[in-house]
């Protein structure tokens, strides 16, 4: 499988990249390439201009300031997966970074690339939603987009044609976890649930539960979040009960591996497991 021809650029700054993006014909940003290149090989995507961001190394970083984290868009999954602070302070992200793809994909693939790609079966979108992350987008002017507004649908985000995702910021989430039921071939999530809890001693005070893999875009399970409030973290039965009926009013995907009914039912099971994992210390 061989991609169609394109022009390749490697800018050395975001400004240069933005200029190329505005001027280039059918331009696409190349980050780690782990989703884009396979699609180009099948000629599902045929950019005429490819802008490789690896010449902008300042986009790869993880910085903590107090309880607030900024992750550069070019940070690889592997570096997140090996980051002790991320594990301790944002377990939900650490789990997803370890669970997605495979080691080779994680060594090249980036968080910004994966989020911009917005594959409905990918792991990060639900995580970002549960973290209530903020996406810093460079373009004509820099703007901030909340995760809830960023993921629009299948391969569809709030990014404009001439915009580049540069950073993602979120607050520490000490009680958080991501659990997924994996497709046996692709590693993608049949159902993935990201849970971020606010715990007071051993009681769940608040929760943000986001579900991915099911619909065109990840969504919050508001009912589950409400029902979880006040439940003891070690009360497995109560957590299960709270997670029952996690999916309502969604157009759930169906394929050879898993029907909509199964995915819907598994969302409850996986949500309970994710919440359970989030209550436990990392």
């Amino acid at each position: 499988m061989i991609p169609a021809t394109f022009n390749y650029f490697r800018p050395h700054s975001i400004e240069e990249a933005l200029l190329l993006l505005r001027q280039g014909e059918a331009a696409k940003i190349l980050a780690g390439g782990q989703s884009l290149i396979p699609m180009m090989k099948f000629r599902v995507v045929e950019p005429k201009t490819l802008i490789d961001l690896q010449g902008v190394p300042e986009l790869a970083h993880v910085m903590w300031a107090g309880g607030h984290c900024t992750v550069g868009a070019l940070t690889t999954h592997a570096s997140l997966a090996a980051d002790a602070d991320v594990r301790r302070k944002a377990g939900v992200l650490w789990d997803a970074a370890n669970a997605l793809g495979d080691p080779q994909v994680r060594n090249l693939g980036t968080i910004g690339g994966a989020c911009s790609h917005a594959d409905p079966s990918a792991d990060y979108p639900a995580v970002m939603l549960a973290l209530d992350a903020c996406f810093i987008v460079a373009g004509e002017k820099t703007r901030e987009v909340a995760a809830a507004d960023f993921f629009k649908g299948t391969f569809e985000t709030a990014l404009g044609e001439s915009e580049i995702l540069t950073k993602i910021t979120f607050d520490a989430a000490a009680h958080s976890a991501y659990v997924k039921l994996e497709h046996p071939a692709s590693h993608y999530a049949l159902v993935g649930v990201a849970a971020v809890l606010v715990m007071s001693r051993d009681t769940i005070e608040d929760a943000r539960i986001a579900i991915g893999g099911l619909a065109d875009a990840p969504f919050r399970a508001g009912g589950v979040e409400r029902r979880l409030r006040g439940i003891k973290g070690n009360d497995g039965a109560a957590i299960k009960a709270a997670c029952t009926g996690a999916v309502t009013g969604q157009d759930v995907r169906s394929d050879v591996e898993a029907s909509a009914a199964y995915r819907t039912a598994m969302a409850d099971v996986i949500a309970a497991r994710a919440v359970g994992a989030a209550t436990r210390p990392r």
Binding site: R10, F42, D52, V62, S79, D83, P103
Partner: protein, 180 residues
């Protein structure tokens, strides 16, 4: 057409006329005649094309050659020869970790990357650590054995830095700043 400067198996190469769409795997196989890197799929699934990029395992079918500009690539030909095998190659041989051999070169490089991240993996960690590589012949039984044997051999050859350190210890693996 692009120009590329990179190091492959310790040798510097400067090549002109590299088509931007040229995949790294084809560059290695066709331009440099390093045919030990194999192609087994078109979806980045099988791992037969695995090489080390600046020491980390990547799939060379899912990378353009130009992306490797300024970087160091190690292929199976670069880690050992029949006369002087890498401990991982030796272990695959001794433990019968291969049959047809087609996935083997990528599997060996992935296993080397696994031991870089986790020098003393248990069976479960080896199995999950090799999730980017498919083998159709061995059922992985002897591949797992080989990786354990190689880990032991490499540990014996090199004193362990922090004895008793749990696997995937974050401090040891912390890499702020991404891949570059």
């Amino acid at each position: 057409m692009g120009r590329i400067e990179l190091e492959v198996n310790g040798t510097r190469h400067e090549l002109e006329g590299v088509e931007p769409r040229l995949l790294l795997v084809h560059f290695l196989r066709e331009r440099l005649a390093l045919t030990g890197t194999h192609i087994g799929c078109d979806t980045s699934s099988c791992g037969a094309c695995t090489v080390l990029l600046d020491g980390k395992a990547v799939k060379s079918c899912t990378m353009f050659a130009l992306q490797a500009d300024g970087r160091a690539v190690t292929t199976i030909e670069g880690i050992g020869s029949s006369a002087e095998l890498h401990p991982m190659q030796e272990a695959f041989w001794a433990q019968h970790g291969l049959q047809c051999g087609y996935c083997t070169t990528g599997m060996i490089l992935s296993a080397i990357d696994l031991l870089r991240r986790n020098p003393d993996p248990d069976e479960v960690e080896i199995r999950t650590g090799l999730e980017g590589n498919l083998c159709r012949c061995t059922g992985y039984e002897n591949i797992v054995k080989a990786v354990r044997a190689a880990a032991a051999a490499m540990a014996a050859a090199q004193p362990v830095r922090e004895a008793g350190e749990p696997p995937k210890s974050p401090g040891e693996l912390l890499e702020v700043g991404g891949s570059r």
